[in-house]
Amino acid sequence: MKARNGGLLVLAAMLAVGSVLIGSRQEDAEFAGTDGQAMEAVTALNPDYQPWFELLWEPPAEIASGLFALQAALGAGVLGYYLGFRRGQAHGRQKRPDAGD
């Protein structure tokens, strides 16, 4: 399991890194979000369209990046807790002297 998972993670990382390398060769590669590009497409199709509702609150850029990090940290923290907990449990069971199998 370990070797296979390691391989899969390396593959995923290579895909991400490779994407940056290939993507950077594109003209005007700014790595802008596709969500934003889609909304630009809306305005291109419908120059008259006016968004009829405003965001309740928009964080300043620095705070937004912090909150993004917070979201990832919360997710990774809980996930990591679970994975470590289960792995530790399994190892604990193995080490007990009465573990026959």
Partner: protein
């Protein structure tokens, strides 16, 4: 797949909200029942939600020179069934709307529909379908998570196309336009999401056997158990 605040006409926004709401209510009930009937799987439920939280926060680069993010809702869908993820996805989207200015309140229904309903259902259907065809579990999980991710983005493209038909080529032409904004970027990202989901499932099969048994996962194992 986040439609920005105010970027769906009021009628569309209301319709998608009305369509998504029953799924979220059923989902909340299902999560509640699951936690009462099987309190021992609370931790795994939290971990699946955390996976969606983590993956949807990661803006990943793509070969097209633009960025997008994975959804992370496939994992929970294949473990707990698709209906559970409607609530989880809604929580993720609410967090992003209120704190990150990503998405919106008026477009929440549409975004929930694509990421927390269509994605998980497609993922679940792909898992069951490929398992019935006898595919190896890892391949099934990979395809489920990857296609669930694509389905989410195609749904968003469809929602935008319905709201903003092309003056010349209509809804179909508009759909192609929006899909071509998302699709090339999302192709490699969905592969990454698929790989990461397989990594987690591999781990669960090694260390969380008891929980998977309670969940009757993988579905194939259930069938062989039934026969013996």
């Amino acid at each position: 797949m986040h439609i920005t605040e105010g970027f769906l006409p009021p009628l569309h926004a209301a319709a998608w909200t009305a369509l998504a709401l029953p799924f979220v209510v059923v989902s909340a009930r299902r999560v509640h029942r699951l936690m009462q009937d099987q309190p021992q799987i609370k931790l795994l439920l939290a971990a699946s939600g955390a996976f969606a939280f983590l993956l949807s926060a990661l803006k990943l680069p793509s070969v097209t020179g633009s960025c997008s993010h994975a959804t992370g809702t496939g994992l929970g869908a294949i473990l707990f069934g698709p209906s559970v993820m409607a609530l989880m996805g809604t929580l993720v989207l609410l967090f992003q709307t209120l704190l990150l200015a990503h998405g919106g309140i008026t477009t929440l229904g549409a975004n929930v529909f694509s990421m927390a309903i269509v994605g998980p259902w497609i993922a679940y259907a792909v898992l069951r379908g490929t398992q019935q065809l006898g595919a190896p579990l890892a391949l099934s999980v990979f395809l489920a998570a990857m296609l669930g991710d694509w389905a989410t983005y195609l749904t968003t493209a469809g929602q935008l196309a319905l709201a903003f038909p092309d003056p010349v080529s209509g809804i179909a032409g508009s759909f192609i336009k929006f899909a071509s904004v998302f699709a090339p970027t999302q192709l490699p990202l969905a592969v990454i999401e698929g790989l990461l989901t397989v990594v987690i499932v591999n781990f669960l099969r090694e260390y969380s056997g008891e929980e998977l048994q309670n969940l009757k996962f993988p579905p194939q194992a259930l069938a062989t158990e039934g026969r013996s």
